[in-house]
């Protein structure tokens, strides 16, 4: 595996593995996920340190938490960003918890000015 400034480079990992064509789709996806998790963690730490990125920066809101969970005691929750079951799916048992924040209204949308 290679590392650039402590960050895993998934493209390089795939190249060293012989290219994505030599990996199963699942293995390729796992590389993506691992890389993304590490990158998110690094960015989270950078953000908490007050640094700021340019085009490739992803704000802290880039975590896929379920609505209403942000202010909970386990706000980041370790691997919360890559937890698969955070989407409001209609499985019958995993319904959304009531959001603690209210959604902006259509009227508010019209108040946005540049």
């Amino acid at each position: 595996m290679s590392a650039e400034n402590g960050d895993l480079n998934w493209t390089e990992i795939l190249r060293q593995a012989g290219g994505p064509q030599n990996l199963s789709p699942i293995a390729t996806a796992q590389v993506f996920l691992l890389s993304a998790m590490l990158r998110e963690e690094r960015k989270r730490m950078e953000t908490s340190n007050g640094s700021n990125g340019a085009i490739n920066s992803v704000p802290r809101v880039a975590m896929n938490h379920q609505a209403g969970e942000r202010d909970g005691p386990d706000e980041r929750g370790g691997d919360g960003a890559m937890t698969a079951d955070t989407c409001p799916r209609l499985s019958g048992e995993n319904t959304n918890s009531p959001p603690r924040h209210s959604w902006p209204s259509k009227e508010e949308a019209n108040q946005i000015t540049q």
Binding site: N64, A84, C87, W103
Partner: protein, 257 residues
Amino acid sequence: MTKTHSRIIFSLNSKGGSGNTAAMVALADFLIRNLGLNPKLVDCDLANKTFGSLSHIFKGTPKLDVRTETGLDDLLAIAKPAELEEEKAGGSRIVLADFGGGNEEDTVRWFNEMYDGLVGHDISFLGIGLLTSNVATAKGIISWSAELRDRINYLIIRNHMAGSNFSYLFETEIGRKFFNVSNAPVIDMEKRAQNIQNELVNRGLSLRQAIDAPPDVAGPVLGTFAARVRMRGYVARLEEQFATVTATLVPDLAVPV
């Protein structure tokens, strides 16, 4: 019993020319080539009849008019065909729908009529909002979210095609309110050289397709060494962005369906 989870990904398009189709095309390439998935593509942008539409770039993609009373039922039928209801294989079935502008009212009405009835059918929705430096794109995203709320997940793509000033969403109280409640991930799509983007549209090619295309298909603009190098850069950086939100795109990344 493990049912197949269906994920419907659609664009929260309120304004044409914001790069919605370019983003959906790139996302389709990512899902297919990087994740090995087989998303069902649907072109719902009827205003874009030929050049650069999803059906122009991915041959065989059906066109679907969702601006009818039951138009979105057809999208649901693609996401959840009858055989999947009985299937035990698990995995994900992804539907990628490029909505044209002006679909908001019909989409919201459909959600109001159908959403509650979908409980128990293991289906979820992801709305992709393209944000440019044009304030209208932010208004559109907030307007969609005001109606759909937490019935869908959100992904915001900052398209730098016309500048990188997104302060009206990222530095306003309304924007903060949206991100607080939606937890929408944010990724970036960089500005592309105009001649390359125009030629991709004219020839009906995605970046990936153009890179792999023989000279006669790529043409004199896209077929040059410099253009291919440039396009490889676009693809690599965009794939890296998509990779950070894989779990949002495909919550059940399992056996491709």
